[in-house]
């Protein structure tokens, strides 16, 4: 096997031997400097037949060939030989040979990863040049320079760079990668940025938490000699306990006069998130009457003109409403809009709100699952709903769903018997009870769904008639 381009060479050779049914025992694999065995390398005959190998093996082999273990080629071929008759072996993670190859693959990946992380360039050209040039000396544990060079080419496309290793060196000049054998270790010039980097390394370290083992398992000492910051580590460790003790012991100092100045500065700032204070019930935002405010993002205000004839009340904000801070913007809101358009209700002319102003849910994995508010929560929030009714003084309030109906009328009976009828509140406001649009989203039975959709539509038309509008749809 050659030193440069091993992956391709091994693949070609293995393919040929496999096609000719050469068993692994007859082959001796070696590097460029291994002396040739007299009887090795069986003659390659010309007749061949197609072979197929699982794709997962190809990617495994493409990594393992870079391992430093001299037996890697033989191990790969031996496993490939077995794989020919048992293709399922690739998914058998308990297999001893595969486990060994996977371990080698992991070593190579880790070595590649550490190379991407720990190569430290020094500038070797003019910093003001159009294409700046940099060079580094690095000692990887495996032959990983070749497969990793592409990474640096993708990352540093606009500069020239070279990485020298004891094995193979790579030079990237005017967007071309070339590999070279036996380059001597270069004498790289001092780089001023290194001092800044060490300063950063020393100061980003928190002396109050020493976890030396955690550091060394991720940054093994074998890499330290080529990393400028590593020289500072021993001092950082030895000084840490004393620094932490001093911090804990130091008595709090008295604040400087600038504290007052800062407070004045803060008072002058008004956040562009703050809604204008003329907004209806602006105190709602800081409501803590029930525990729901702890989990929800924000209280969701009613929305619409304060002189609206029609007011529509839902149950509570859902996930999307809670995030956006506006009522009826989620799926149920969109369904409502669809019906409203059909019937001829202009959403901009309607005041829309909810019986409960905070979103009640349980967090499950990545989702928030809606929970119906309980009686207590509805009663606490009724204060805000009554305030809104008082401010808007609508001709008719539509209660969508059982929660809204209970909040508005304090009567808790089944929705089906009440739907489509007008009830009178103690304060003289009439309430029309109907379904909640989310019921229409949830209902699976096609017959019931059809009836509910018709019912909801006719209720909305009725509501529109009550407030003196004319519907565009027909019953």
């Amino acid at each position: 096997m050659p030193r440069i381009g091993v992956a391709e060479a091994w693949r070609t050779a293995a393919r040929q031997y496999l096609q000719q049914n050469v068993p692994p025992e007859q082959l001796t694999w070696g590097g460029a400097d291994t002396p040739r065995d007299l009887f090795s390398a069986p003659q390659i005959k010309t007749e061949t037949h197609e072979i197929s190998v699982p794709r997962s093996f190809v990617s495994l082999a493409n990594s393992v060939v870079w391992h430093s273990d001299p037996s890697r080629f033989a191990k790969l071929y031996a496993f490939l030989w077995r794989l020919r008759d048992h293709p399922y072996l690739m998914s058998d993670r308990g297999d001893t040979e595969l486990a060994a190859l996977r371990r080698m693959e992991k070593n190579v990946h880790r070595c590649q990863h550490k190379m991407k992380a720990f190569v430290r360039f020094r500038e070797i050209g003019d910093p003001a040049a159009k294409r700046r040039s940099f060079a580094a000396w690095f000692e990887p544990s495996h032959h990983t320079i070749e497969p990793t060079a592409q990474f640096f080419a993708r990352r540093f496309g606009d500069m020239d760079w070279r990485i020298y290793t004891p094995d193979i060196s790579v030079i990237f000049e005017s967007k071309k990668l070339t590999f070279h054998e036996n380059c001597p270790r270069p004498d790289l010039p001092e780089d001023a940025s290194e001092q800044l980097w060490v300063t950063y390394f020393q100061n980003i370290f928190n002396p109050a938490r020493l976890k030396i083992k955690a550091m060394q398992s991720e940054m093994p000492k074998k890499y330290w000699k080529n990393m400028p910051e590593a020289a500072a580590i021993p001092d950082m460790i030895s000084g840490a306990p004393a620094r932490a003790r001093a911090m804990a012991k130091a008595a709090p100092t008295l604040p400087l006069p600038r504290v007052k100045q800062a407070q004045q500065q803060q008072a002058r700032f008004t956040s562009s998130w703050t809604q204008d204070s003329a907004h209806l019930v602006s105190e709602l935002s800081s409501c803590t009457r029930c525990p729901l405010h702890c989990a929800a993002t924000q209280a969701v205000h009613g929305e619409g003109p304060l002189d609206a004839n029609l007011m529509i009340v839902g149950e509570q904000p859902g996930d999307q409403e809670d995030l956006a801070g506006r009522p009826f913007v989620g799926p149920a809101g969109q369904l409502f809009d669809e019906f409203a358009r059909k019937v001829g209700i202009d959403r901009k002319q309607v005041f829309m709100t909810n019986a409960v102003k905070h979103f009640k849910y349980v967090a499950r994995g990545k989702r928030r699952i809606h929970q119906s508010p309980n009686k207590q929560e509805i009663k606490h929030c009724r204060f805000w709903l009554d305030e809104e009714i008082r401010h808007v003084a609508p001709k008719l309030v539509v209660a969508m769903g059982a929660t809204a109906a209970f909040a508005l009328t304090n009567v808790q009976t089944t929705l089906n018997t009440r739907r489509g009828k007008i009830e009178m509140r103690a304060d003289g406001v009439s309430v029309l009870v109907t379904y909640h649009p989310s019921y229409l989203l949830r209902e699976k039975d096609p017959e019931k769904l059809k009836a509910a959709r018709l019912g909801f539509q006719s209720d909305l038309m009725y509501a529109l008639k009550c407030v003196g509008g004319t519907s565009v749809a027909t019953y």
């Binding site: 993670r93 800044l196 980003i204 370290f205 950082m236 840490a240």
Partner: protein, 411 residues
């Protein structure tokens, strides 16, 4: 005012930034500089370029733009009432440092945070200016993480999200009451609103327009936050409850837990003792169980009476020891969900077991080769050639996993 050199400023402003645990550089859009017109790439997985002796990785140039601040949060070293050295970077300095470090392969990108100066809007717009310079003038394609200031104007947050890979807002304390006590200038509702805003913008940026064109990605590596553990009296159940709400509500990529550590010139209101680092570790383990192992918050936190996680053993083992009746599970037949509950098995081991057992019986040695920790799992599973016998129900099972009792020192 004293004029500092760049090196002095770097020392002050990186020292001030070290209490932020996040240093992730993963999960963003794939991009590179093969064309030769830009510098930097991002290939999905993050790279840690160095590790400090505190065990934390250094992936990004993590600095504050300035450590002047008008807020007075007790837990923060940069609060207005503290007497630490103050400094401020110019836009040029941050840009030059980032590019110079990046070209020498020291870092994956920039994590820029800042104390609040003048006003939240003024500070945010300065930070956005730095990100804009890096992206538009220096053609920087590496990673940028911007800390967002919750009160800053929505249009600034929008621009920040289009320039940066990740946005984050630290909520720092797990309850609204604790925020009110320790960070009087911060408004928890406003912090949540800002997170909700980022989530909605990300959601919108995913929808194609009617012409099929995709809008530019908004904060492609998502948003994250940090919670300080041990600065207030909250127990682990409260902390984990808060993080499940954050994950589910705002689709956070990560919630970082940072054990409260003493800071220079600390406030008299803070506790004197820092919590054990082990508590932080247990919280991360519980966080993973909640997100990737199908555990419910209730299951993890109900193991101990005080709602704190067991410090001696990991939360999955603690749960299993409370539910010994459910074990041993048979590796040959158990479902993925059940296998994920076995202490010592990770998600990868479980996938390997499932793919192997399609062909043959999984034996004890096989699981070892697959990466399972049989030291833990052996009491909880039966496999080909292995049965735990009375071990599963033995009364001293817990003692096998906890460290031996230590003699207290006399002095």
């Amino acid at each position: 005012m004293v004029q500092y050199s760049t090196q002095q400023k770097l020392a002050i402003l990186s020292d001030a930034a070290k209490y932020d645990a996040s240093c992730a550089s993963s999960g963003s859009t794939k991009r590179d500089s093969r064309s030769g017109k830009s510098v930097g790439s991002n290939e999905g997985s993050g790279i840690c370029h160095a590790y400090a002796p505190d065990g934390r990785c250094i992936s990004l140039l993590k600095i504050l733009m300035t450590n002047f601040c008008i807020y007075d949060c007790t837990y923060c070293v940069n609060r207005v009432s503290s007497n630490v050295q103050r400094a401020r970077f110019s836009v040029d300095e941050v840009v030059k440092l980032t590019i110079d470090f990046y070209r020498r392969n020291y870092i994956e990108g920039l994590f820029l945070s800042s104390g609040v100066i003048k006003s939240p809007d003024a500070t945010m717009s300065d930070m956005v200016r730095i990100a804009r310079r890096l992206r538009k003038e220096e053609n920087f394609r590496g990673y940028i993480h911007l800390k967002t200031i919750p009160d800053a104007a929505p249009e600034l947050i929008e621009e920040a999200g289009l320039l940066a890979d990740r946005l984050s807002i630290n909520i720092e304390l797990p309850t609204d009451a604790a925020v009110a006590q320790h960070a009087p200038e911060k408004n928890p509702v406003q912090i949540r609103k800002a997170m909700a805003d980022v989530r909605l913008r990300k959601q919108e940026a995913k929808d194609r327009s009617f012409t099929g064109k995709r809008p530019p990605r908004f904060a492609p590596a998502g948003q994250s936050t940090q919670l300080i553990v041990g600065a207030d009296g909250s127990n682990d159940a409260t902390i984990l409850g808060q993080s499940t709400r954050l994950y589910s509500g705002y689709k956070l990529k990560r919630v970082y837990y940072s054990a409260f550590s003493p800071i220079p010139d600390s406030s008299a209101k803070l506790p004197l003792i820092s919590p054990p680092l082990q508590r932080e570790h247990r919280l991360y383990q519980a966080d993973w169980l909640l997100r990737f192992y199908g555990f419910d918050l209730q299951e993890i936190t109900s193991v101990t009476p005080d709602g704190n996680l067991d410090l001696e053993i990991d939360p999955k083992l603690a749960w299993a020891l409370k539910h010994q009746g459910l074990f041993p599970v048979d590796v040959k037949t158990a479902s993925r969900e059940t296998l994920l509950r076995v202490p010592g098995f990770g998600t990868k081991t479980v996938s390997r077991i499932l793919s192997t057992r399609r062909h043959r019986t999984v034996r004890y040695e096989d699981i070892l080769r697959m990466g399972g920790s049989m030291k833990k799992a052996r009491a909880f599973v039966t496999a080909g050639g292995w049965s735990p016998g009375a071990l599963t129900d033995s009364a001293d099972l817990r003692a096998r996993f906890t460290p031996p009792p230590e003699q207290l020192s006399l002095l």
